[in-house]
């Protein structure tokens, strides 16, 4: 009867694929689910911005500028009378896509470089570490100005530049993790079965080093969303009339607005915080979900 009990306990999760199981664990992580729901709402709201907002993001109304939040303009208007709510939604498109895509680029490069350096070691490692040091010390300002000059300003280029400049930290992290994992016996076991290096990296190594990398990635999303604001200051990033959360914050960079028109800076700031927080919770959830050993429901109670 005890055996039967064990069996039924297992049968409950019958045919658990790696991802199906992860999804189930993820949904049991309360904060992660909340984060995912919030994030989904934000993303959907941004995608369907034209249906939700009554105003266009760039519809100016010079006579109705600097209005506080109210019935007509839910979150008020800015210095040229544009509807803040609409700008938040449309701005989210830029900020979130910059955040996601740039981080995706940097994570892809970083994980790849880190994995290769860590797994193969030796001269490859030496060379890649040099590369990492080099990119780490690049002055972003110069690179960005030059980059805009050569390829022209656009959101796509912003993502590219940020992605190309911010991968070294993830690469270092990955490398360190892999170094400590490389000689684990299950890797040897995989090798002895004739598994190819690419499969070993993808199936055996990456899932096991993901957790610290996920922390870095979620924090990077925040950094990147903010970085976009500084970039638009330099001419890269969202250009003048277009909104992004970052440049909405930047536009509020005067003492008068800070003091007497908080509706211009609190919403974009809050959106960044909420988005980043949700992403982080999702990241936590993902991490726990990919770790079968994590006690379900242990997090976020």
């Amino acid at each position: 009867m005890t055996e039967a009990a064990i069996d039924t306990g297992i049968a409950a999760g019958a045919s658990r694929g790696l991802w199906g199981e992860a999804a189930r664990r993820f949904l049991h992580h309360r904060l992660a689910t909340v984060g995912l729901v919030v994030l989904t709402i934000i993303v959907l709201a941004c995608i369907f911005a034209p249906l939700i907002a009554h105003y266009g993001p760039n519809d100016i109304d010079l006579r109705g500028r600097n209005q506080p939040p109210g019935g007509v303009h839910w979150l008020g208007t800015d210095g040229t009378g544009r509807d803040i709510f609409a700008r938040i939604l449309y701005g989210g498109r830029i900020s979130l896509s910059v955040g996601f895509i740039a981080v995706a680029i940097s994570a892809a490069i970083g994980i790849f470089v880190g994995a290769v350096a860590g797994y193969f070691g030796g001269k490859v490692d030496l060379f890649l570490m040099g590369l990492i040091d080099m990119v780490l010390t690049f002055p972003r300002l110069v690179i960005i100005i030059a980059f805009v000059a050569v390829v022209g300003p656009s959101i796509l280029n912003t993502m590219l530049v940020i992605g190309l400049l911010s991968w070294p930290s993830i690469a270092r992290l990955t490398r360190g993790e892999i170094l400590s994992l490389r000689n684990q016996e299950f890797i040897l076991a995989a090798r002895s079965l004739g598994t190819s290096p690419s499969v070993i990296i993808l199936e055996h190594i990456l899932p096991n080093v993901l957790s610290p990398i996920l922390v870095a990635i979620t924090l990077d999303v925040a950094t990147v969303i903010l970085l976009e604001a500084s970039l638009s200051f330099l001419g890269l990033g969202a250009q003048a009339p277009a909104a992004s959360w970052g440049n909405m914050l930047r536009d509020a960079r005067t003492l008068s607005i800070l003091e007497s028109q908080p509706w211009m800076w609190i919403p974009p700031g809050a959106m960044i915080a909420v988005a980043v927080l949700s992403i982080n919770f999702v990241g936590d959830g993902l991490r726990d979900a990919l770790d079968p050993q994590h006690i379900i429901g242990g997090g976020g109670k």
Partner: protein, 689 residues
């Protein structure tokens, strides 16, 4: 506060009555009601001043949890003590606030943990770790604390202690760390020492040293000991009383002689039966059938019932309590009275395991002059300044269908040899012929092919399974990598393999951490079998397991050998098990093989001094023999393999060494006879009696 405390204690001591530790009805559960794990159920025992008690039982039976609860070390939540008292000198450990318990921890009750490496803080010097408790509890000055710590290190036999106080844990060998762990527990001269399986991870020679050490210290310091183990033979020699735990409860407790002589509980009987006997060779091991208990069920029945041959309806309905059998001997079984007449070893054991077909004479694998050196690089240019000579000239043959055992101290190069054979390590020198072919320069494709024929069961049952893959994927990995069959046929094969190694189909979707050690080990075996190899290197597949599970696995390997005609290279250090399962034995010392021969001749007439020392350290599951056997305890530790001694590697530790040993490396000589087969010994003095 402190004052009143001392007073209270003095009073109890003066009264001189009652046991030192009295645990009454302790129950511990983990997790919330409804989904709880009932780890400890109604455990009671007493420990008198200066007494030594062993707690044995299967893995997961609640031994560690019981002890950690006493020490206030379990994490709450999820842990909770659901009932019970633990009176230490009359004061309830479970009821006192943590600040008060803190005064007792370390000073009055000290604990040695299972894994020495991970229970020492890696970033603090052992000096600091040794003295901090002294300074905390006795307010000693740094100097004084250091002096006492030094004494203690000397006592546990750490050479050059004064200097080593400044060293960090990673600079010690496993055996040394274990001794430091003991010293750390002992510095405050506690009244009770709890040793939680302190030797499971160590090999026999060191295990022997430590058991001896603790037994001696107990006498010298007059403390009480609780020794937790799953190895009955180990504790047999030196404890006074044994308590057997199963599924969170104590099922039997008796003085040690009595337990071995007249075990009463069916579980205890099973446990004793699974121990291979040193005297009766080649009999099949008798494991306890079934799987370890499920402790997620409320303890309302006899947890052993499902595995018990004698279980009746009653066993499944109510939980038996400990009943005295004779004075000092109690058992928790409804039927102990009826069972007393049963023979201890049920039924005559099945005949020899060597039922395999072909006569083992044609070599499958020939290793000659194998050397594996790991370069040590230093300096700006990473010049190679030396090498770890992990394997330093090893030659042996494995014949088709036989089991060759490779034994030797930890770090002597056994695993490296195995890995080199498999091609996971590039040999520095030497030749490895598999089925007559050398794969040294083989292409990746050819190597992949060889890997179908040759597989390895890795040493560490947890570390060798990817924690994020399900059992099914792990077993099927080789099939996928070798592109054997279709998806469906691979699935079917995995099912077959699961059945073959005795795992239920439902295990397929479990993760390694959800498996018990034995199950994990079987997954490793199933993975190795997946590609239908001809040859398996089994690297200490059982060393981390308890006896009954060891027995299961050994039987499995035997069955497979018989059914599939497999050939094994079996790496291990548990000699009693090796004696049982191998056809031939090769003894390794510091990168070289010192003695090779049939099992019978090596165990019967060991010729190399090192082999003799090894054999003498095998624990005997007999309390009477334990005291009388002459153990050859080797001095010092294994030398640094990057600077092996000149001549015969063993000479610095050899009781028989002479001048020539330090100068000339001996050549192997055959001492076998036609009856005993080849028996090679690499010793200048072999054969001189």
């Amino acid at each position: 506060m402190m004052h009143a405390d001392t007073l209270a204690r003095d009073k109890v001591e003066a009264a001189g009555q009652g046991p030192l530790l009295d645990v009454q009805g302790l129950s511990v559960a983990f997790g919330p009601e409804g989904r709880a794990v009932y780890a400890v159920n109604d455990v009671s025992f007493q420990l008198a001043e200066g007494e030594s008690l062993a707690i044995v039982g299967e893995s997961g039976s609640g031994k560690s949890v019981t002890m950690q609860t006493l020490m206030g070390l379990i994490r709450k939540p999820p842990g909770r003590v659901t009932s019970g008292r633990a009176l230490f000198r009359g004061r309830d450990l479970l009821a006192m606030p943590d600040s008060e318990l803190r005064q007792i921890r370390g000073r009055d009750i000290a604990m040695i943990f299972q894994d020495p490496m991970s229970s020492l803080n890696p970033v603090l010097t052992i000096g600091l770790q040794l003295t901090e408790a002294l300074r905390e509890h006795q307010g000693l000055s740094e100097r004084e604390a250091e002096r006492q710590a030094l004494d203690m290190l000397d006592l546990v036999g750490i050479a050059n202690a004064a200097q080593r106080m400044q060293a960090f844990p990673h600079q010690f060998s496993g055996g040394q760390l274990q001794r430091i762990g003991i010293a750390m527990a002992l510095v405050c001269k506690p009244s009770i020492l709890i040793a939680d399986e302190p030797t499971t991870a160590l090999d026999v020679t060191i295990q022997a040293q430590i058991v001896e050490l603790v037994a001696r210290l107990q006498k010298e310091l007059g403390m009480a000991i609780i020794w937790i183990s799953h190895d009955l033979s180990l504790v047999a020699g030196f404890v006074e009383r044994v308590a057997v735990m199963y599924a969170g409860s104590i099922v039997e407790t008796a003085p040690v002689e009595r337990l071995f002589a007249a075990p009463t509980h069916p579980y205890t009987i099973g446990l004793l039966n699974s121990i291979p006997s040193l005297t009766a060779a080649n009999t099949r091991l008798v494991p306890i059938k079934g799987a370890p208990p499920n402790v997620t069920l409320a303890p309302t029945f006899c947890a052993f019932a499902s595995r018990c041959d004698h279980a009746v309806a009653r066993c499944r309905e109510a939980k038996p309590v400990l009943e005295p059998v004779v004075s000092g001997h109690a058992a928790a079984c409804w039927r102990w009275r009826e069972l007393q007449g049963f023979p201890r070893a049920p039924g005559s054991v099945m005949a020899t395991a060597q039922a395999s077909g072909a006569a083992p004479n044609e070599p499958l694998l020939t290793v000659s002059g194998l050397k594996v050196h790991f370069p040590i690089r230093r300096g700006v240019l990473r010049r190679q300044v030396g090498a770890v000579r992990a394997v330093d000239g090893v030659s042996f043959e494995v014949l088709r269908g036989e089991t060759l055992a490779l034994v030797g101290e930890s770090g002597c190069g056994k695993s490296t040899t195995g890995r080199a054979v498999l091609g996971l390590e590039r040999p520095s020198e030497g030749e490895i012929l598999f089925e007559g072919r050398d794969y040294a320069e083989a292409t990746a494709e050819r190597l992949k092919e060889r890997r179908r024929d040759m597989q390895m069961v890795f040493q560490n049952p947890f570390g060798s399974l990817n924690p994020r893959m399900t059992v099914g994927r792990i077993i099927g990995e080789g099939l996928r990598a070798q592109k054997i069959g279709t998806r469906a046929s691979r699935e079917a094969r995995v099912s077959d393999l699961l059945a073959l190694v005795g795992l239920r189909e439902a295990m397929r979707d479990r993760y390694p951490f959800e498996l018990s050690g034995g199950q994990r080990q079987r997954v490793g075996i199933a993975r190795a079998l997946a590609g239908s190899p001809k040859f398996i290197i089994a690297d200490e597949p059982i060393s981390a397991l308890d006896v009954s599970i060891q027995a299961q696995i050994v039987n499995l390997l035997d069955d497979l050998k018989a059914r599939l005609g497999l050939t094994y290279l079996f790496i291990g250090h548990d000699l009693s098990m090796i004696r049982y399962l191998s056809d031939r034995v090769a003894v390794m010392y510091l990168g070289r093989i010192v003695e090779t021969g049939t099992t019978a001749s090596v165990f019967g007439t060991p010729l190399h001094p090192y082999t003799r020392a090894l054999l003498s350290a095998i624990p005997v599951p007999d309390p009477k023999a334990g005291g009388t056997r002459r153990r050859i305890v080797l001095g010092g530790g294994v030398p640094d393999p990057s600077k092996p001694p000149s001549g015969c590697h063993f000479h610095p530790r050899c009781p028989r060494a002479s001048k020539i040993c330090a100068q000339v490396a001996p050549e192997p000589r055959d001492f076998g006879s036609s009856a005993s087969g080849q028996h090679l010994v690499t010793c200048h003095h072999a054969g001189e009696v």
